[in-house]
Each structure stands twice: as C-alpha cells, then as structure tokens.
C-alpha cells in the first residue's frame, strides 16, 4: 500500500482551510434554505430602514414648516425644534442594531448550541473527534461554522446601517467601538452556546439552557452592577452602547444625552483607567478563553471535567480581583451606591438625601458574599470527582503503584475548594471593610472577627457541598440543595407574607439555608444596618450562629465519613499485579 502523500490537516490559524468551517459553509449556506431567510431579512431590514426614514422625513418637513412660520412671524425658533437631514438618517440605526443583536445573539447562539447537540445525538461528532485536527482547530471550526448563516444575515443588514452611519454623519469613534463590542459579544454568546451544546446531550434542554444561560449570564447578572458588582456590567454590550449612544441619536437628543453622560465615569480598575470598549472586550475575552478551555478539555477527552483544578482556582481568584478592581475606585466618589448615582443624575427629586446610607452598604456586602459563594460552589462542583471517577482513579493509581495525581480530575476537590473559599473570604472582607470604613459612614467599622466569619461561611457551605457530591454524587447534592437550600428560603418567605409577627420565626427558618448565610453574616456584623424590627434584629445573629455551628459540625462529620470511605476504598482496591 502506498503511503499517503497528503500534507495533513491545516493548522488551526488557517481558518479558511478549516474543514469544519468549510463543511458549514456548504451545508448552512445552501441556496434553497438560505433564500427564504434572506428574503425575510431583507424585507424586515428594508421595512425598518424605510419606515424610520419616512417618519424622520415627515418630521423634518413638519419641523421646517413650523420653523419657517415662526421666523415669518418674527418669533425666535427654539433649539429643540430644528431637525436636519443627518438626524433623520440616524433614526434607523438603533432599530437595526436591535435586529442585528437578535440575529447574532439569540438566533446564532441557539443555532450553535442546537447544532452541537445534534452532532452529538447523531453520533457524527466522533468522526471529527478522531481526526488528527488539533482541539483548537475543532473548536474554531464549530464556533465560526455553526452560526455562519447568522453571520451572513448580519452582513446583509450592514448596507442599511452603513447608509445610516454615512448619511447620519456618525463619527467612527462612535460606531467602531459599538460594532467591535457587538462582534466580541457575539463570539462570547456563541461560545457559551457551544459549551452548552457540548456538555448537554438533549437537544431541547440545550436550547433552553443556552438561551436561558445567556439571559442569566448577560442580562440578569449584569444587573448586579447596581448593587456594587460593577464588573458584571462589562460582560454586556450596554456600557459601550450607552457611552456611544449620543452618536446614534438625532443630533439634539444626542447632545442632551451627552450632557447627562459627562457625569459617568470612565472604567477605573484599581488605579488604572481604561476606555469602556477596551475593558469590555478584555472582560469578554477572558470569559471566552475560559469557555474555550472547557471545550478544549472536552475535545481532548470526552469524560474530562469542564475545568482543571488549577484553572478553576485561578478563576475564583481572578473573579475576586476584577470585582474588587472595578468596585473599590468607585467607593470614595460614591458612584458605587445606586442611591448616589440616581441623585447625581437627577438631582434630589427622586432620592432625597444624596449620601448613601449604611443599609445600602450592608445589602451590597451581602450580595457580594452571595455571588462569591455561588461562584465558588459552581467552580468547586465543576472540579469535584464523582464516586465512580474516584474509584477509577484509585484503580489506575494502584495499578501504577502511586497515589492519585493531585491535579487530576479523579483527585478530591477539597484542597482547591479551601483555596477558593479563602480567596473569596479575603475579597469579601476587603470589599466590606472598604465600604463600611469609607468616609460615607463615619464612626462605623466592622469587628475584627469579620474575616473569620466570612471564611467560616464560605468554607463550611462549599466544603459541605463538595463532600456531599464526592460521597453521594450529583443526586445527593441536588436533593440537599433543594431541601436544605431552597425550601427554607421559600418557607421563610411564606411565613413573612402570612404574618409580620412571624418575622423572627421566618428568619430562623431561612437561616437554615446555606444560601442565606452571607446575608445573615452581614446582619450579625452590622445589626443596626439591616433589620429595623427588634425581634428580627435579635433573631438574625442567633439563627445565623446556631445554623452556622450546625453546618460546621455537619461538614466535619462528612469530612470524617469521606476519610473513612477513602481508606476503605483504598484497602479494597488491591493492586491487580500483586
């Protein structure tokens, strides 16, 4: 048999020779299927464009007539009445941006997630898994290939946008950052869909999880920026769009908005300053990189954890750094507090006093702790081995006469959970101390035990969850999460709704949930700042300390059980060679 004379698959950087990308160029751009989408889209974009211009032109004509009549009558023309042709041409830009966002973010992401699951369901993914292409080339092929039709549809809308930008005289410095961030956000959304499609095996679930996940990650979580976690805002395109919005609006409205925006800060990261677009793209790329690592691991070994232990620990530390880096510079000018932002923007009409109050700071500290706890839980479970996986790892290690490698997927995640929890506690403490110790709250300070309490909260909940997962698997953790994590919160809410006199009991019930511990820890440390009801003020610290002590005892019991089981497993797994 003659040896193959072919050069081998193209390297990952030669995108135009990527077989997976070319496969989707063929199949997703077949004229018959593409034709209908193109007709619908051109009709829709044309309709938006024409309607916007028609309305603008009629307004222009009306305004000009009115202005002419006022001049003829010898009256002064107010500045808001004048409308020029450039303003009219700009009217279509925002509706077109919304349409483009829908195509790329919603339809494109759903296509990526669904396409990936469909490959896995059909079984054809194994063929490409077996090819000698590098994992990076495979990830890039799917990432750019699966949504290729949506990219084309996006491109089809661009001439309408180009007309609006050109004739609307929108400066490059306005539209370039917006479209750069739209493209980076599209890549981020698509890689999120790709990860969901690779991890999940059911097509219906994939669609729900990817679209739902994108809604949570890039719509709900960024709302936490209003509660002090400013960094999350930069995962969306909104900061950049808002910064450049004046350029997209008719000239008079744009000028008004620009005046309001003078009060908005640039991105400040600790002592550094960044343009909004640069910081947003950087933030999105870090997340893209994390998703790419997940995909790379899964392509390399289908049974791999989504993240390695060092990467997950590093990511937990990184989250703390960026949260603090974006938040702390805003404490002193007061821009971290939503009450002060509103009062600065709209005077004292809505907020009354422009100075932030301690309850707002307490709420922000509680939110910081809860988000930190949830992030640690997600990362810790990502790197925890199941019982089966631990057993397999032990057999493998016993066969090779060595211990399970410390960083391998089969090794326990407990040491790394401790690292993540301590990093989280450090970040949380710094945030709380900077906030409470700021000049906005003179005479206020946190007790010296704050770092210990925060560390106890994060360590006990995260370690307990990991121990449960390693001992009882996903089902055990899920049931514990439902009955100990969610049900007490729901029951407490119902108690409060039923009778305000039951508030103290409700606090005792909700405090059972580990998810409420960050809030209760803050209530314990800042009792005057949180609850006004005296009974609740007394109940919150007691309930917190009682349930926290129980949680620590439960964690210690699970730890000893984990050690006993590990020893038993080691003694029953004999060396097959002996």
């Amino acid at each position: 048999m003659s040896a193959p004379s072919f050069p081998g698959p193209a390297p990952a950087w030669q995108l135009w020779r990527n077989p997976i990308l070319r496969r989707y160029l063929r199949t997703r751009l077949r004229p018959r299927a593409l034709g209908a989408s193109l007709i619908i889209l051109i009709l829709l974009a044309g309709f938006i464009f024409t309607l916007s211009r028609t309305i603008g032109m009629s307004q222009l004509s009306y305004h000009n007539d009115l202005a002419a009549r006022m001049i003829a009558a010898g009256k002064p023309v107010p500045p808001g009445l004048t409308l020029d042709l450039a303003s009219v041409e700009r009217i279509c830009l925002l509706p077109l941006l919304a349409l483009q966002g829908f195509i790329l973010f919603v339809v494109g992401t759903a296509q990526v997630a669904g396409g990936m699951t469909s490959e896995a369901e059909e079984g054809t993914m194994d063929y490409l898994r077996l090819s000698p292409m590098t994992p990076l080339a495979k990830v890039l092929g799917y990432l750019l290939g699966l949504p290729i039709r949506e990219w084309l549809l996006f491109a089809v809308t661009l001439p309408f946008t180009a007309w609006g930008l050109w004739h609307g005289k929108v400066p490059v410095s306005n539209w370039f950052p917006v479209y750069a961030v739209v493209l980076s956000a599209a890549l981020l959304y698509h890689i999120t869909g790709l990860t969901a499609g690779t991890v999940l095996r059911n097509r219906r679930w994939t669609f729900l999880v990817s679209v739902g996940g994108i809604f949570i990650l890039y719509t709900l979580i960024p709302q936490l920026a209003n509660l002090g976690l400013v960094y999350f805002e930069y995962l969306t395109i909104m900061p950049v769009v808002m910064e450049n919005l004046p350029g997209f609006l008719p000239l008079t409205a744009g000028a008004a908005m620009q005046t309001v925006q003078q009060l908005q800060p640039d991105v400040r990261f600790f002592g550094l300053g960044f343009p909004e677009a640069v910081f947003t793209i950087f933030s999105q790329l870090v997340l893209c990189l994390t998703f790419a690592v997940m995909l790379w691991r899964r392509w390399r070994r289908s049974e791999s954890h989504l993240l390695g232990k060092p990467w997950a620990s590093g990511l937990a530390v990184w989250i703390q750094i960026v949260l603090l880096g974006c938040s702390l510079p805003l404490v002193s000018p007061g821009l971290l507090f939503i009450s002060r932002r509103i009062s600065m923007r709209f005077g004292r009409v809505f907020s009354g006093n422009s100075n932030p109050e301690l309850p707002e700071a307490a709420a922000m500290i509680a939110v910081f702790g809860t988000v930190t706890l949830l992030a640690i839980l997600i990362l810790a479970i990502c790197i925890s081995p199941s019982r089966e996986s631990q057993q397999t790892g032990l057999r493998r290690a016993t066969k090779a006469n060595r211990r399970i490698p410390f960083f391998s997927d089969e090794a326990s995640a407990l040491p790394f959970t401790v690292v993540m929890a301590l990093a989280g506690a450090a970040g949380w403490t710094i945030f709380a101390q900077k906030l409470v110790g700021s000049h906005w709250f003179p005479g206020q300070s946190l007790p010296a035990s704050t770092p210990l309490i925060f560390a106890a909260v994060l360590l006990s909940t995260s370690l307990c969850s990991v121990l449960l997962y390693e001992l009882r698997g996903a089902k055990g953790l899920f049931l514990a999460g439902i009955f100990a994590g969610i049900v007490p919160l729901l029951a407490g809410t119902i108690l409060i709704a039923a009778n305000r006199d039951l508030s103290a009991s409700a606090v005792w019930v909700t405090a059972l949930s580990p998810l409420s511990t960050p809030t209760n820890a803050v209530a314990t440390l800042l009792p005057d700042a949180t609850f006004r009801h005296t009974g609740v003020q007394l109940a919150a610290p007691r309930a917190f300390l009682f349930w926290q002590a129980l949680l620590i005892l439960a964690t210690l019991w699970l730890w000893s059980k984990h050690r006993t089981e590990s020893k038993a497993r080691r003694s029953t797994t004999t060396n097959p060679t002996s």
């Binding site: 040896a3 020779r17 997976i20 496969r23 063929r26 077996l130 089966e388 493998r396």
Partner: protein, 315 residues
C-alpha cells in the same frame, strides 16, 4: 533484524463503568496484515475495547500500541494510522455523500480539492457507491450507509482498521464485496480488527479470532483452535435401532455421561460428554444388550452453538 511490532498490542487493558468491569485485564497482540475477529455476546466488552482502540475512551488502566505508537501518549499520531467504523455508523443528514467524504479527507489528509476528489472517488468505487456521490446522505439505505462509512474509513489509508459490525444491514452481495475489500486491504498490509454477530461469516473472513465474555478473553487463535478450546466435549448423538427403541432409550438413560435422552419418530437423540473410548463402549453396550443399531450419527457443536452457550453463561 528487529521484528516488526504487532500492529495492535493491547496489554492488561481494563475498562470500568463505576463498579461494572467492562474489560478485565485484556491482553492481545495482532500481527500486521491479519484480519482479526472479536467475538462475544452483548456486554462482552467488545465495543468498549473498540472505543479504547479508537482513542475515544480512556481506560482505567492498561497500554495500547498501534503499530508501535502508544495511543494514550500520542493520540493524534495514532489517529493518522487508525480507521474506525462504529457500530450502526451514523452519517450527517444535512450533507451530500461527496461532501461527507471531502470533509473527512480534509480533516485527515488536507491537500487540494482535486487531490481530495481523486481520493474519495477511489474509495467510493471501492465500496461500489460511485454513482451515489451527489445523493444526500439521508437518502441512502442502511446497507449503503454502512458502505459509505466504510469508504470514509478507507480514505486516509489506515494501517489499522477497527470495524464494529461493518456488515450489519448489508445485502449478501455487499457482504461478499466487503469480504473481498477487506481481504484486499489485508493483503496490502492493513491490519483489521472486526466484530460481528454473523459468526459464520466472521470465521470465514478472519485469519484469527478471539472470544470475549464478561470482559475477559476466553480463547484466541484460528477459528478451529477457538472451536476446540471452547468445545465443552459435549456432542449430540442420534441413534436408530431396529426394534424396541423405548427400551434402548431407557437403557441409554441409565448409562454414564449421557444426558437429554429423547425419542422422536423412532430415533433416539442424546448428548454425550464421555471420551471417544467411552462412546465406543456405549455403542458396543447397546449391541450386547440386544439392540441392533441401524444408524448412528454424531453432531459436533457449531460455532454458533458454542457462542450461544457462552452467551447463556453470560446471562
């Protein structure tokens, strides 16, 4: 001269799914140019072994070398010389036959369009599908799909081919062609490991076989060697006597090493597990007890029977 390493060298391979042992310390060496059959009932560990060989699954432990390449240390290198055809091989529903092959060609071999076209056309001809190049994959029959995936497997001229049930769904003519194609490939130096439930065909096609059960290797060698190794010494005897078959059957039931004695249409069927000497004594005993034999037929267990008995042990 240093002898060439085995084309497939599996040592102490173990695959676990939780507490279930799918493959239990399998050690196997297949020399180059062999067509090697892997036989066993469902759950024997064939597909797990194949998925490990195909670098799709990480075993609990063990080593696997393909033409001297450690597939766990250099999986990309191993994939260049490996052709894998999965069981019930799927094809992408949105692609044409030529597009599917061109994608595979590009992802394995690279090269320009005309070189790739020449290669996939050659492979389509090899599996008698040249006239279906522009058909959609979803329009192919089950047998044609199997042939298409076989063509895909041949594209990069693999040195080692791992074929899981390649003949399922094929008509007799296609099966014969498959047999000829595989023989031709083996003659050209490829090593083929193949699993099938059509055991008689496998015995005919393969130069050697191994039988697996419950993750363990029961026997390996040529078809005859495997049959002898697995033979439980039982054979069926059918005896006809001139008169009184009821008495003869009763007498046979009382003899050692006999079982399942039954009488149908005057013919006595039984299974006998004694030595050839004991069998001669049994027949002589019939004669000395006054039963005159008119016919005696011995029936050895077929390959299928042996595997059915292995499967029964499994269940």
């Amino acid at each position: 001269m240093i002898p060439a390493p085995p084309a497939i060298d599996i040592r102490q391979l173990r695959v676990d799914y939780g507490n279930f042992i799918a493959v239990d310390d399998l050690t196997l060496a297949v020399p180059q140019g062999e067509v090697f059959g892997l036989v066993g009932p469902n759950g024997a560990g064939k597909t797990s072994t194949f998925r490990v060989l195909a670098t799709l699954q990480t075993p609990t432990y063990g080593s696997v070398r393909l033409a001297g390449i450690d597939i766990f240390e250099a999986p990309e290198e191993a994939r260049r010389i490996l052709g894998y055809m999965p069981d019930l091989a799927p094809v992408p529903s949105d692609m044409k036959v030529w597009e599917f092959l061109d994608l595979s060609c590009e992802s394995f071999l690279g090269g320009n369009a005309s070189e790739r076209r020449a290669r996939w056309q050659e492979c389509l001809e090899q599996v008698q599908l040249a006239d279906r190049g522009h058909a959609m994959c979803r329009s192919l029959s089950r047998g044609q799909t199997q042939r298409l995936v076989l063509a895909r497997t041949l594209l990069h001229r693999p040195k080692v081919m791992v074929l899981d049930e390649p003949a399922s769904g094929m008509d007799p003519l296609s099966r014969r062609n498959l047999r000829l194609t595989l023989r031709h490939l083996a003659a050209a130096g490829s090593t083929i490991i193949i699993s099938s439930h059509i055991l008689s065909e496998l015995a005919e096609l393969c130069t050697s076989l191994c039988v697996m059960n419950r993750g363990r290797l029961l026997s390996s060698g040529t078809a005859d060697e495997v049959r002898h190794a697995l033979d439980r010494k039982e054979r069926g005897l059918t005896i006809s006597v001139l008169a009184n078959p009821d008495d003869a059957a009763a007498w046979l039931r009382s003899q050692p090493d006999t079982a399942d004695v039954s009488l149908h249409d005057g013919r006595i069927s039984l299974s006998f597990s004694g030595t050839p000497d004991a069998q001669a004594n049994l027949l002589e005993g019939l004669f000395t007890n006054g039963f005159r034999l008119t016919a005696c037929e011995e029936r050895k267990s077929s390959f299928e029977d042996l595997l059915i008995s292995v499967a029964e042990q499994n269940s």
